[in-house]
């Protein structure tokens, strides 16, 4: 498969395409943030529904679980006849994949709130809303952010696949490189998407520590 005389990375190509690389990187970040953001909002709604009635847990996580197991390429292919080669198609797929992880972690995080803290809060006169916002969510936040980390890293990987439907940020370089046996864009796309995943994860680890100072104290 190697083409004679073709170097792995041609820096002149990189130099000539800096603008495009920046654009695709930005697009990649945008698609990821939008998907995780929407996924978080939907999962939060689903979690509140589950809290309101625990019997919803099984059906909701089962459906999210089925969505999660559909191969990504197949899911995008199924959507194209309905929503075309659009950002909508990409986002429907990407958001679907975040729901299982995020809903599980939000519900799990809220359930992990110590019962005594909850009871003390109610006993001292918190309303249901104050209980959620001031006690339960802050305490669940480390677990929720752990879910966001997994969802974000997964989504960054999946965005490269949406290149096949004409979206896909850095994935388009990878696709282009494969189609033309031209390594440079392939390497650029792969390396940058890996770097992006690592950076996003590190950022979220930092956030996790910052929002939960009580977990970091020396005993």
């Amino acid at each position: 498969m190697t083409i004679q005389g073709e170097p792995l990375v041609r820096f002149d190509w990189i130099g000539n395409n800096l603008g495009l690389i920046g654009e695709r990187l930005w697009e990649h970040i945008f698609l990821t943030v939008l998907a995780v953001g929407l996924g978080l909002a939907i999962s939060f709604g689903l979690s509140l529904a589950i809290r309101w009635n625990g019997r919803l847990y099984l059906p909701i996580t089962s459906i999210a679980g089925v969505l999660y197991t559909i191969p990504s390429l197949a899911l995008f292919a199924l959507l194209v006849p309905f929503t075309g080669l659009s950002i909508l198609t990409a986002e429907i797929g990407l958001v679907s994949y975040t729901l299982l992880i995020l809903t599980r972690n939000i519900v799990g995080g809220l359930e992990g709130v110590p019962a005594d803290a909850r009871e003390a809060a109610i006993g001292m006169g918190y309303t249901a809303r104050q209980l959620l916002l001031r006690v339960e969510l802050p305490l669940a936040l480390p677990v929720i952010i752990a879910g966001v980390r997994v969802a974000t890293v997964t989504t960054i990987g999946l965005v490269t696949v949406t290149a096949l439907i004409g979206q896909g940020g850095l994935g388009q370089f990878i696709l282009q490189g494969i189609q033309r046996f031209f390594y440079t864009p392939l390497v650029v796309g792969a390396v940058l998407s890996i770097a992006l995943a690592i950076a996003a994860d590190a950022l979220l680890v930092g956030l996790q520590r910052a929002v939960a100072p009580w977990t970091a104290v020396k005993r």
């Binding site: 803290a117 003390a120 006993g123 001292m124 006169g125 918190y126």
Partner: protein, 340 residues
């Protein structure tokens, strides 16, 4: 002025609490009969009194307590605070005016000690400066150093320190009524004794009315103005001042619950330093004890000593008094009376 402003709304002093034939059924048994957790409970707690609910685990103490601030609603009967039926008061407003210490302390792990104590003052909208001053005052009040404790998280405190902060948090707005569910349960006997003493001091100074739950008869005797002894099934076997309970147990159950070995149990958690010792005589009496020796061990040694008297010395070995059988007996006098 709404109903809840009226209730417990005055500045100082304790509230009156009255249970009128209160029952609580959680569930029905297999044959459809309701199972009572609390049955036909009637009692009155006067302002400034500590009413202790004592009894074995599962006899309905916690349930009784939680019906006062409406965490649990009675199946029948009424609970009145200063003559107002709690069921007519908005539960959130009611709870903000009643200090509540739950069995497992329940400090918020994500908030510092200062933020924990500030919970109710913040809910009722005190200005920031007033809250800050009050927080420091309360930390000091429960015997800790504000400067070194206010910014810690609960995980950085010992069990006993957490219980103190739990009590401080419940007292933040000096509520006229406090509900305390085994508040000193998680600490060793020595610390417990000290917390009890500090709490008694505070309660008397502020004139609070307290409903106090414990399963420890010694604690009930020590703290209660009146003690309600609960029986399995949620009924009261006796509701009396402690001395009365010890001298005239109403039923066999109460006599057994109070226990014939109470005197010895109590001696085991007292130190010689807690006793009213006789003055040191020049002769230098019998065996020598450190002031930290527990009274039961000292009693055992005295039983073998030729003159039934011993010298108590402080940590530097200086004699501070003489302990005799009479010294010890007088320390447990109400108990001794019950054993006659």
């Amino acid at each position: 002025m709404t109903r809840s402003d009226e209730l417990l709304g005055r500045a100082k002093g304790g509230a009156t609490v009255e249970f009128r034939q209160v029952s609580k059924h959680y569930a029905r048994s297999a044959n459809g009969q309701p199972i009572a957790a609390v049955r036909d409970l009637s009692l009155v707690v006067q302002p400034g009194e500590i009413c202790v609910l004592v009894g074995p685990s599962g006899c309905g103490k916690t349930t009784s307590l939680k019906m006062v601030n409406r965490l649990i609603e009675p199946t029948s009967g009424q609970i009145l605070i200063d003559g107002v039926d709690v069921m007519t008061v908005d539960p959130v407003a009611l709870r903000r005016r009643i200090g509540y210490v739950i069995q497992q302390v329940g400090l918020f792990p994500h908030r510092t000690i200062a933020e924990n104590i500030a919970t109710v003052p913040e809910l009722v909208g005190w200005p920031k400066a007033k809250i800050r001053a009050r927080v420091d005052e309360l930390i000091a009040l429960v015997g800790l150093d504000p400067a070194s404790y206010r910014d810690r998280y609960p995980s950085q405190l010992s069990g006993g320190e957490r219980q103190r902060i739990g009590v401080a948090r419940a007292m933040a707005i000096e509520p006229p009524l406090m509900l305390m569910d085994e508040p000193f349960g998680a600490v060793d006997p020595i610390v417990r004794e000290r917390l009890q003493n500090e709490f008694l001091d505070l309660q008397r100074r502020l004139g609070l009315t307290v409903l106090f739950v414990t399963h420890d008869i010694d604690e009930a005797i020590k703290l209660g103005t009146r003690v309600a002894v609960f029986e399995q099934g949620g009924t009261i076997a006796q509701y009396s001042p402690p001395a009365e309970l010890l001298m005239r147990p109403a039923t066999d159950y109460v006599a057994r619950f109070v226990g014939s070995d109470r005197a010895l149990k109590r001696l085991a958690v007292m130190r010689l330093a807690d006793l009213r010792l006789s003055p040191v005589s020049s002769a230098g009496e019998g065996p020598v004890f450190s002031a930290e020796t527990n009274v039961r061990d000292a009693l055992a040694a005295l039983l073998l000593a030729p003159r039934a008297a011993g010298t108590v010395v402080d940590s530097s070995g200086v004699p501070i008094g003489v302990v005799t059988m009479e010294t010890i007996a007088s320390a447990v006098q109400p108990v001794a009376a019950s054993l006659e």
